[in-house]
Amino acid sequence: MAEPGEASALEEAEARAVRTRWALLVPAMLVLTIGAAGPLLVMLVYSFLEAGDYGGVEWVFSTDGWVQVFYAYDIFDEEWVAADAHLSIFWRSVKLSVVTTLLALFFGFPTAYFIATRSEKSRNAWLFLITIPFWTNLLIRTFAMMEVIRNEGVVNSVLIGIGLIDEPIQILYTDTAIALGMVYVYLPLMVLPIYASMEKFDFRLVEAAYDLYATRLRVLWRVILPLVKPGIVAGSILVFIPSLGAYVTPRVLGGGKNMMLGNLIELQFGQGRNWPLGAALSITLLVLVMVALLFYVRAAQRGSSGHG
């Protein structure tokens, strides 16, 4: 037997399989590197350059972009002061994202529970109803929300109609409008993961708990909640992250003044003409998102080891 030759034939086949795999992967990797991941690195470089006068950059090293994230140069006093405008936008972004997540949880959890407790057949229909809005245009849904809450919109008309108020309430172009809009557009992202973890949940456990003298609230708190916690964590992160980076909803429902981080970033590439600052803000946002994701991964790991 010429065994070395045969063994190398096997190695050859192995090597060919590896080559095939990478050949299949290269196009996707290339597109994603050029069209998504690579530019992030270029942006990191840009955040350390000097702003050009009419947008763009001068290829001179500068930390101004990063300094301006938190400080503004006061041209009268000729000193750096805390950039209140930026800080308030940071604060609003985080605050609205947290509020949105909590509201989405408040509405999403019961909805997921409702779907999970339907009969096998109708469950798919309800699920379909939740999913459809998610796949339709975010701008259109935001626009629909805008029509409903504007001063002449359905909400105000109805409230005036039934005599609850005399004057329309100004909702549009407020922080409330942004939060409402974000809850509206991101709600399916909360419902779906919670539903997914509830679908696996054995509802006989609830009956067992009732049998052991648990009250409704206790069943919810001690039996259901701990078991669907992974879904809740996943849903919360799925709502929190796009809220933090929201652009369309605050732009349409917040008007020009109530900006969030996304709008502030865009501004630097438009009228602001401060690309390094925009790049630095983008990276800051990215870091915030990564922190949230990291938190999620750790929570998920703790959850799985706790129940595993």
């Binding site: 037997m1 065994e3 045969e6 034939a9 096997l10």
Partner: protein, 365 residues
């Protein structure tokens, strides 16, 4: 079976297969050599993890040996890909193509071989007839029952007329009744087609009823190859005796040898004749085996062994007597029940045990 010398269809020579490496190394096959003859129903029998499926996969070409070679009709095929060997497989889960009809499934292999359309159609027709599935030719494979899927899988693997057909526990997914029917059906197909069948199973009964020859495997080795009768009556090793059927093991001493038989002395001091396995090394202390149905109860004081009946279990066709031997250990007898018969002995009664002549077999280990 008839002892005439036939050509070897497929042969494994010193084949080893090692999966993984370092501390995870698993030796699935350990220096296995076996020759499977033309037109033979050959069974690889053993518990799960014994290497029987690995050997099958090496013959099919789904895996390649780490050492040694596989030959098909004399040609070394060890490293040939599966699509270049005249070997077809019936898979455990059938692996029928769900996007094709029954007829398309059966014709697939012929089509891949580049046979003409007319030839494919004709062969598919013949195959459908062979497995009695003509009426369902245009059904989707998801629309037919498990037994029917089994037949389609057989027809698909037989259609290209392979030199060897491999069957990987094909009956395990069927219920008892269907399994019995398929056992007969498989024997018929093997006779009608004249193709060598290599059948893998962990079911000893299946192996005994269907095979021309059986290879009993354990821990990556082939322990014994022989006809079903050989394997059952003359197990050469403890594992084989234990794995197939029920057995009584007795410790004994060799008193003398004459050709293929030996005089052995049992613990009770009685000397009896026992068959020796081939290639047996000289040893003083040996284990002998005797099947429960190859002994009878005798009045106390008579027979080769003495003891006391521990319990009696009625099984319908036969009754099992568990006897505590005076020399220690237990002995099981299986006695056929005559109609209207009743137990002749009671529990706790002292009895003798008489062996049938030539019922004892010495084990190699």
């Amino acid at each position: 079976m008839d002892g005439s010398v036939r050509d070897i269809a497929v042969e494994a020579e010193n084949v080893s297969k090692i999966f993984g490496s370092g501390s995870d190394e698993v030796r699935a096959l350990d220096d296995v050599s076996v020759g499977i003859q033309d037109n033979e129903f050959f069974t690889l029998l053993g518990p799960s993890g014994c290497g029987k499926t690995t050997l099958l996969r090496l013959i099919a070409g789904f895996d390649h040996p780490t050492k040694g070679s596989i030959r098909l009709a004399g040609q070394d095929i060890s490293y040939l890909p599966p699509y270049r060997r005249s070997v077809n497989t019936v898979f455990q889960n059938y692996a029928l193509f769900p996007h094709m009809t029954v007829a398309q499934n059966i014709g697939f292999g012929l089509e891949m071989q580049g046979r003409s359309r007319a030839e494919v159609r004709e062969t598919v027709g013949n195959m459908l007839a062979l497995v009695r599935m003509e009426a369902l030719a245009n059904r989707r494979t998801s629309q037919i029952s498990g037994g029917q899927q089994q037949r389609v899988a057989l027809a698909r693997a037989l259609a290209p007329r392979p030199k060897v057909l491999l069957l990987d526990e094909p009956l395990s997914a069927l219920d008892y009744k269907l399994r019995k029917d398929m056992q007969i059906e498989l024997k018929r197909l093997q006779h009608e087609t004249g193709i060598t069948f290599v059948f893998v199973t962990h079911d000893q009964e299946e192996a005994l009823t269907m095979s021309d020859r059986i290879a009993v495997m354990s821990s990556g080795k082939i322990l014994q190859v022989g006809s079903p009768r050989d394997i059952y009556d003359r197990p050469s090793e403890r594992f084989v005796a234990d794995f197939i059927g029920d057995t009584n093991f007795l410790e004994a001493e060799v008193a003398g040898k004459e050709g293929a038989t030996a005089r052995i002395r049992l613990a009770s001091g009685v000397e009896v004749e026992a068959d020796l396995p081939s290639g047996m090394a000289d040893a003083r202390q040996v284990t002998v085996v005797i099947r429960p149905e190859h002994a009878a109860l005798a009045p106390a004081g008579q027979g080769e062994l003495q003891g006391r009946i521990a319990n009696i279990v009625y099984f319908g066709t036969d009754t099992h007597y568990h006897v505590d031997l005076d020399t220690g250990g237990q002995f099981t007898l299986r006695l056929q029940n005559p109609r209207g018969g009743r137990e002749l002995h009671g529990e706790g009664e002292p009895v003798g045990i008489a062996f049938e002549p030539g019922a004892l077999q010495v084990l190699r280990d």
